[in-house]
Symmetry: C2
Subunit: 468 residues, 2 copies
Amino acid sequence: MTEYKLDHMFDPDIVALAGASKSPYKWGSTILRHIVKGGYEGEIYPINPEADEILDLNAYPSVLDTPETPDLTLIATPSQAVPSVLEDCIDRGVETAVIITAGFGEAGEEGRETEKELVEMAREGGIRFAGPNCMGIFSSRADLHALMPPVRPLHGNVSFISQSGNLGVQMLDRGVHVGLGFDMFVSSGNEADLTCSDYLEYFRKKYSTDVNLAYIESIKNGRKFLDTAKRTSDEKPIVVFKSGETEAGKSAAQSHTGSMAGSKEVYDGIFRQTGAVKAGFTENMLYFGLGFNQSIPENDEVAILTRGGGWGVVAADACNKRGISVPHPPREIIEELDELLPPYWSGGNPIDTVAVQNIYIQHDIIDALKEWDVGGVIILGGLGGHFIDVAMDNGLSEEDARQYCLEHSEKIVELSEEKTVFTVAFRPYDKSEPAEYLRENGVPVYYDPQTAVLSYSKLLEYKDYLES
Amino acid sequence: MTEYKLDHMFDPDIVALAGASKSPYKWGSTILRHIVKGGYEGEIYPINPEADEILDLNAYPSVLDTPETPDLTLIATPSQAVPSVLEDCIDRGVETAVIITAGFGEAGEEGRETEKELVEMAREGGIRFAGPNCMGIFSSRADLHALMPPVRPLHGNVSFISQSGNLGVQMLDRGVHVGLGFDMFVSSGNEADLTCSDYLEYFRKKYSTDVNLAYIESIKNGRKFLDTAKRTSDEKPIVVFKSGETEAGKSAAQSHTGSMAGSKEVYDGIFRQTGAVKAGFTENMLYFGLGFNQSIPENDEVAILTRGGGWGVVAADACNKRGISVPHPPREIIEELDELLPPYWSGGNPIDTVAVQNIYIQHDIIDALKEWDVGGVIILGGLGGHFIDVAMDNGLSEEDARQYCLEHSEKIVELSEEKTVFTVAFRPYDKSEPAEYLRENGVPVYYDPQTAVLSYSKLLEYKDYLES
């Protein structure tokens, strides 16, 4: 695999779609529409023996008949036709394929046999393929939305391998809400040929990928994964979600991708050895991915800055439960804060700004925190769209409120150049300008203190791995 | 307390606001605006010694000067003025007050002394009060938004006591997104007079409240809480979030509400004895609240119906981890499903409809599930706004897609008359008509399978308590 470049798959100049269709009820129509609407600027060859054009694109009876050799062929034909399409691809010199069609290894003895034959054909013919039984791929570089569902991911620096198509695209969609952008995505399906490890190795080498996510039901070659994942973790973090950990889950996984999910203990051991960070809730893959945009904290101490006492208590609890310390501020910091805050402020850490209506002191507080040698700062509230409303509620004009909140975000980004900074916005999926400014500058925005702290703890977990 | 009615507080005909202000930077202005804009239709008396009118309302120098006796006086004056305002209230015969002002028990020795004096005055004078150091109250019955922050909760059947104001109102705001409506809310502050137990007892008796939520940092009178909570749990569930469970959290709680958070073990014991269901993440208070709109399952077996394999695996895992069983379907159910689904369907539970493009079979599948004696059905995907898009993507007109999805919701509601039904929508905070139809009919809509299953397990936990 090392000599092999998946650039043909994730950055193709020419894509063919076998099984392209005029009927809107067929996946071969849906996927074609998603590619076209998604803005892919390369050449598209719909392959269909009975049509001259589909969606205003010239169609061809077979990949053997296309003007040039496609870099990638997507296969969405009925399952019986897949072997001959793959053969055509080989004959034409196509080097990569994504077999979307289902009904192979996951669907009984006959399907397993055909799947084996596909792999043998591919090995002999020099083509590598994703799938079968998958939902396609996405690539931000090529603006390629070769996906079954109507999803438009944010572009970003996270690459994602998902052994579940629907869960994968759902995470892409949630990423839009959460503010997590993707570099590449592959619904890896049954992984008959290309496996999780192959994609990981590719993402490791790509400068455009900073964080890897993986939804895993089973790993086919444990040794290879172990080596690849270790090598990868040394350079960039891997966040995994492992499913099929219980009897019911294993049995569901087997009918899903035909995989043997294996024992939870073995997998946990593999992830520990490779420094892969495990998410217990699927959504946390995204939240951990966000967190890894920040630098690794220099120590396990944090300052908590909060607009409300309750959130402070919840965050402090969460820190202690995750081995993060919430130290009392040194005297010089206390003295500075005493000057800024009313006499009844919390006097410790969490620093509770006790709903002070003079919002401008927030800026000075952030400056004061720079002097404190905690590794990180967790900022709860006083951010984004909700804070614009609060500022307006307190008499500022909309323009002034917006400007103030934007400046506040600038202050926070400045702080993040010296410390690890996580923020929690009051309003879920906040898309206001000040919140977007934070995200654009790599400061993650969470929506509850506990998820923020949990994600923060993963940076420390990864730090432990790197230092061990 | 038993003879006492909190109706004066939560359903007042006349509200006075001491500390009402014309300056937009004062809470006495903000709160007044929120009450007026919130649609409260009773009489409002702004109290301010120096103004004749505020926000077009006649203002009065003191509650002693108002045309009639207020049912409730909100107090948002500076802290030094609070004792004399409370004295005026007593002299005027006001029976309830909400002391929003901070700077008492949470703020050092002097504050604690004054707080004690307030309680003594109130006990002698026959007035009961919420707070001090709180963010106010909300009541759907009276459309009363006596709150510091600009929050407009959904109306519903959940009542909520929060010892943190900011966390409380944040949950009210999240409820809007999550689809959870509130009957009454109180930011209980320092609980100098009225405590968590008093509100709980009141909510227990109110027919309009079906579920209780409580964010608790500390309980002042353990015995009283134990009795009240037990009595309440026998009638309607209590969902609690306990903070101040670690050293950092306890210390933060003490500076927050002046409370001694006590040992985690003691509190866990109290919650276990009283059947209160504990949430580990703040947001889960809301999700558990949603779940309790469904009937308690008849057994611990569920069918999982999924539009995607991965979600099915994740849900099955989550079930097994929470003690919920995912049994294989009996032969007659398998036979019915064989007729409806393509040959490569999962053949078991989870029932994976394998992205079948003929969406109409979903209706028949739901009918088939009625015959199966599982206690509950968890439906993953194929719902709401995202499914309308999928249907349109598959060639249906917008109107047909909408109509189809609405009918699908009707089918699900029908099923919920026979079994406990939880659903998971692909798109977060889905506000489409089909999703709203589910919510209006008490079928909770979640956004990830794990939170749905966790919430489902709380119904079983509560069932165990009721049956023990």
